[in-house]
């Protein structure tokens, strides 16, 4: 993976400018936390990144998760790997999953403590469970770059840590929008603060003080 750069990026909503103009360069291997209050433009930025880098295989975990409620947890996770298989394989798998996919997806679900829900429809799960399914799907995509919008917002302490660890371990490079300052400092090596659609802070996480972050909110 090469350095990913955004130059002079802007986003408008009707007449209103919601983001930019801003410049940002992402080095391979970086874990970037996007912080800032809601409405600052974090989600917009992540979606723009996804549009721009989707063809390179970037995985997106949006805030609304984008699960298919009528499909089982297994199939929702399997969807992360659809591009690696032939159409006929995917269609057969919808009716009768292949052993080797089960063998690769079950350990992932076990890691996220949700293996017992493997064959439950995603629509029947609680918010926290659904978030773990979306994380598993992103991981199963086996992408170099993860773009995740509040990936642990519905999870409590230890489970949030577990999911964040799994996500950052599976993806060499990641951009994570996080409102939880503690998680941001723990799992990111670089913190980018967004305020009013502009980059208000861009520092390695060991140099960021909680004080600086609070100023953004």
């Amino acid at each position: 993976m090469q350095t990913l750069t955004l130059t002079n990026l802007v986003a408008d909503y009707g007449e209103q400018r919601v983001l930019g103009p801003l410049d940002l360069a992402i080095e391979p291997g970086q874990k970037i936390a996007l912080v800032g209050k809601s409405g600052a433009g974090k989600s917009t930025l992540l979606n723009l990144m996804h549009q721009r880098w989707r063809h390179t295989g970037a995985a997106l975990m949006p805030q609304e998760l984008g699960l298919v409620p009528s499909l089982s947890v297994f199939h929702n996770v399997f969807m992360g790997g659809l591009a690696r298989r032939a159409t006929w394989y995917n269609l057969v798998s919808l009716m009768r999953p292949f052993r080797r996919d089960i063998d690769s997806i079950l350990p992932l679900l076990e890691q996220l403590d949700i293996a017992e829900k493997c064959w439950t429809a995603a629509g029947e799960l609680s918010g926290g469970q659904r978030q773990r399914v979306a994380a598993a799907r992103a991981i199963h995509q086996q992408s170099d770059l993860l773009l995740a919008d509040e990936p642990a917002s519905a999870l409590d302490g230890p489970m949030a840590v577990k999911v964040m660890a799994a996500l950052t371990e599976a993806h060499p490079t990641a951009v994570l929008a996080l409102h939880d300052v503690e998680l941001a400092l723990r799992f990111a090596d670089r913190v980018v603060g967004i305020a009013d659609g502009q980059i208000a802070l861009d520092q390695p996480s060991e140099r960021v003080k909680t004080q600086d972050l609070l100023a953004l909110y």
Binding site: H55, T56, G57, L82, A83, N90, L91
Partner: protein, 490 residues
């Protein structure tokens, strides 16, 4: 209350219907109508199951035609739904569904003859038009996000099936299931034009005065529809679909020269066929319009408006039968059964029976249309009322009906009624085949006189009339802010 737009619109409809009554022929002219009704009633309580082969065949053929027709219609409808963004596809769907399955059957009969293909296509084609529209609406309501976040490089078919179709699946299957029930009614009715389904057996039992057999056929038909959800299980459907084509019967072979002649000669307007030029075509068309189309349209409209208003009145009287606010543990299931029987009776079948009893007039048609349609809407409105929670000290009885529930349900009620308007009109036209002077009567006479060119023009006019009413109903729903989507269908 009189200032409300919905009330004024309703009053307008009632006044129009009242005016229509003056022009309608609603006499009972049958010979001993009540005696006939009595004999039919005894046939129902003393059904004769002696001729089991006969009854079994009627049932199996009805099922087979319904499964093959609805199956093909659903498959084609799904493909059409995926192309529904195109105006051409939308217009095509509106056109094929505006022609009733019995008209399709009459058309195919002329060149395929009594071949199973006639019955299968007669169901499959109009159903494909309906499925195309409703499937497209259902698919449109699915969340686009799962498709947006799919990994890059996923094929179109995979993406479609995993995201939009998977999300819509529960709604697609429940709607298809509902249409299967309609398909069973359509299949039964196709017997009246010669297909080997229930209507055929019913007509012959009736004409021979075997009321016990009539009773047995009707009871079996109700039994089949009321038990539908017990034997139509998702796992069994593929089995039924595979078996059904082999149970259609063989009918008579298709003569392909008939097919060619139908398209190249029979349906070409007579003046053109005889090389008389466009001037003569114009005269021919004017004559057809003034002597058949206009009287047919007039009678169709008169009958439709009366039937629509009576359907509405009957619905408002019947919906409490399906509402938990008016029934208890004992009367609830009973009310449900009444509504199921009403809506399971095909209008055509009921009109046929009433015509036998009461003689030819518009009355049997009005009663048949009102009974069937109020059964359907009453069931839907009753179900809607069950979603309403009343305050603990809400009044009871007639006051609960007049103050608490009916005002809240009136909007959905009108929405459903306007939705059925087009369907009632389509059925009204078709009831003409039974001898009531609506458009179907003129179509049927033209076919009997082997003047297919005239029949085709009349069928086209019927289709345009249906499309016109559909557009008007949609306009009224929008103007009165009545929401109606595919999901609010049963």
């Amino acid at each position: 209350m009189w200032q409300s737009a919905t009330v004024r619109t309703s009053l307008g409809f009632v006044l129009v219907a009242a005016a229509c009554v003056f022009f309608a022929d609603l006499d009972i002219s049958g010979h001993d109508p009540w005696g006939e009704l009595n004999r039919l009633f005894f046939g129902l309580i003393q059904p004769s199951f002696a001729n089991l082969d006969y009854l079994g065949e009627a049932l199996v053929r009805t099922l087979a035609f319904a499964f093959v027709g609805v199956g093909l219609g659903a498959g084609a409808g799904l493909l059409l739904a995926l192309m529904f963004g195109s105006r051409i596809v939308r217009t095509f769907c509106a056109f094929i569904r505006a022609i009733h399955e019995l008209f399709w059957a009459l058309i195919f009969l002329q060149f395929f003859g009594l071949h199973p293909l006639t019955g299968v296509l007669a169901i499959a084609i109009p159903y494909a038009g309906v499925f195309g529209k409703v499937y497209a609406e259902i698919l449109d309501e699915s969340d686009p996000q799962p498709a947006q976040i799919l990994p890059f490089g996923v094929g179109t078919v995979t993406a479609l099936i995993y995201t939009r179709i998977s999300q819509a699946w529960p709604h697609l299957t429940s709607y298809t299931y509902y249409r299967l029930e309609c398909g069973l009614r359509s299949s039964a009715v196709l017997g009246f034009v010669g297909m080997p389904t229930l209507g055929f057996y019913l007509e012959s039992s009736f004409s021979q005065g075997h009321y016990g057999e009539v009773g047995a056929l009707l009871l079996l038909f109700y039994g089949m529809i009321t038990t539908l959800r017990f034997w139509v299980r998702p796992r069994l459907v593929p089995l039924y679909l595979l078996a059904a084509p082999f149970l259609l019967g063989s009918g008579l072979p298709i003569r392909w020269d008939n097919v060619t002649r139908f398209f190249t000669e029979d349906i070409v307007p007579a003046p053109l066929r005889n090389g008389e030029g466009l001037g003569e075509l114009w005269v021919w068309l004017l004559e057809l319009l003034s002597t058949e189309a206009l009287p047919g349209i007039w009678n169709t409209l008169v009958l439709t408006q009366i039937a629509l208003v009576i359907t509405g009145v009957l619905t408002l009287l019947l919906y409490p039968l399906g509402s938990r606010h008016f029934t208890n543990r004992l009367t609830g299931p009973l009310g449900h059964i009444v509504l199921v029987v009403l809506r399971s009776t095909p209008e055509y079948l009921l009109a046929f029976i009433l015509l036998q009893l009461w003689g030819p007039s518009m009355l049997p048609a009005v009663v048949a249309l009102a009974v069937h349609n109020s059964g359907i809407i009453g069931h839907l409105i009753g179900r809607r009322s069950n979603e309403i929670t009343l305050r603990p000290d809400a009044p009871n009885g007639i006051e609960r009906y007049a103050y608490e529930l009916t005002p809240r349900l009136y909007g959905p009620f009108l929405a459903f009624l306007f939705y059925r308007w087009e369907i009632i009109m389509r059925e009204t036209a078709i009831l003409g085949i039974l001898g009531i002077a609506t458009l179907g009567f003129y179509v049927d006479s033209a076919i009997q006189e082997i003047r297919f060119d005239r029949a085709m023009v009349l069928i086209l006019i019927t289709a345009l009339l249906n499309i016109g009413v559909d557009i008007l109903a949609r306009y009224l729903r929008r103007r009165l802010h009545l929401r109606h989507t595919a999901k609010s269908e049963p």
